[in-house]
Every structure is written in structure tokens, then in C-alpha cells.
């Protein structure tokens, strides 16, 4: 197989994969609406709006000591 053929197959496979992944992601966002922590995606806008250092994080990072 020549390099041009490899290139062509690689291109098609990768393109299909990325397209499927993107649409799966869109489907996931709009059907589930919430991420696995149970936060609605739209809540994440509050990361900008409530960003004082004393504000409570939208999804707190578990403390590890």
C-alpha cells in the first residue's frame, strides 16, 4: 500500500470517528442536559458570575489531604 493510500484510508477513518464523536457529544449534551455530577450544564455559567474567592464553587473539588 502506498503512502497516499494509507493517507486516504487514515483520513476517512479518522473523519468518521471524529464526526460520530462530535454528534454523540451533541446528543449527550441535549438529551442528558446534566453531567454525571448532576449539574445542569447551564449552571456552569455561574462560574463566571459568582467568582469571588469566597463564593461556593459550582462543583467543588474533593479535598484531598
Amino acid at each position: 500500500m502506498s503512502i497516499a493510500e494509507l493517507q486516504a484510508y487514515g483520513y476517512v477513518v479518522a473523519l468518521v470517528f471524529l464526526t460520530v464523536a462530535l454528534y454523540a457529544y451533541i446528543y449527550h449534551l441535549y438529551t442528558k442536559r446534566k453531567d454525571s455530577d448532576g449539574h445542569d450544564y447551564e449552571e456552569y455559567s455561574n462560574m463566571a458570575l459568582k467568582d469571588d474567592i469566597t463564593d461556593t464553587p459550582v462543583s467543588e473539588k474533593p479535598k484531598k489531604k
Partner: protein
Amino acid sequence: MFHWLEKNPFAFAVVVIVTIAFAGLVEIVPHFAQQARPVIGTTPYSTLELAGRHVYIKNSCNACHSQLVRPFKSETDRYGDYSLSGEYAYDRPFLWGSKRTGPDLMRVGNYRTTDWHENHMKDPASVVPGSIMPAYGWMFVNEADIDTSYAEQLTVAKFFGVPYNKPVPMKDGSTKIIKMGATVEEARAMALAEAKLITADMKNQDVKDAVENGKIPEIVAIIAYMNSLK
């Protein structure tokens, strides 16, 4: 399902890299497997021409002049044959430019002379009335850097196999050898000999005197380069 992507910065970074690298991998990398083959008649630059190319780059001539003739009638009428990939085989870097404030220079050696360039670089509007190109008076004074040019020749011959001192096929079936000095002293002497051929067609006495005294002003080098563009 996509949790790992949104909350794990490392996984996120990896996915971004894969997504952005994809285009480069497909579009660019495979072309490097194919060596750019020079078309017949394309020769490496001589020491003086390469020094002239450095003067061209130093003054960003490529900011206003392209070296790429597109395959349109209007362009081939104006500038000559359209460009072929192999004609650029020895161009490191390429100098296609992205703006034509002035005309294309891909084949300027076919229709301009040493004498024309000399007058034009000193005062562009004297040769082309209405020209907005600035004058390049300092090129008549500053010395061209022959040593760096020679260093580049040595480097490309060593790392990229550019055929100096080897026969290169020409269009008429003959071969031509572009010589490169064995030492830096020899390279300087060869550049000076080539410079004298250029100054024979020039009028500026200061430039002629400089070359007689073993110095090569930038203007001589850049004219050598311009004349080589065919």
C-alpha cells in the same frame, strides 16, 4: 459518558491535541515522504546569489513582492510561465510572499537588467514614474555577508544533499556545475569574481571601487540574485 473529558484537564488536553493535530498529520506530513524534485534547469544558488537572497530577506522585499506566478492567462502574460513546484526545490525559506504591492519577481531575471536594477534601487521613481517603492540607498554602502552565505551553502549541502560541485541537468540536455568553495577564503574569492562580472555593467563608481578593493556591497549581491530569477 463525557465526564472524563470535562473534568479531567489532562484527558481534555490530550483530546485537544488529537483534534488539532489531525489536520497537520493528514495534510502535511505525507508530503515530506516525497522529496521535492527540482525540475530540469533549476540550479542551486551561487555564493553571491545566496548572499543577495539574504539581502532580499533582510529588507523584507517579500512583504511587497511575490515569487509565485499563478496559472492564469493574465499572470503568464505579465510575468512568464506559471510556477512549478520543482522550481522551488532549493528555496529555503520559500519566498512566495502574500501581497503584491509591487509586481511578481519570480522571473524578473528574464526582463530586467543589471543597469535597470541599479537605477531602480537608487531611486525607483526615476525608472518607474509613479512608483511607491522606497529607495534602498544603503545597499550601495553596506557590505554583503558572504561568509554567512557560504555557511548556508555548506549546511544545505551537508544536511539536505543540495548538489554543489555536482553536475545538474539543464534544459538543453547539457549539465552545469554550480561550484562551492572548499574554504571560506576560496568562497570569498569566487564571490568577488562573480561580483566583478556584475559591476562591469554598473555605473556607480563607489560600488565599482569597492569591488576593486575586495569588498562586495549589498547592491551587487542582490542584483546577482535578481538576475538568477528566471
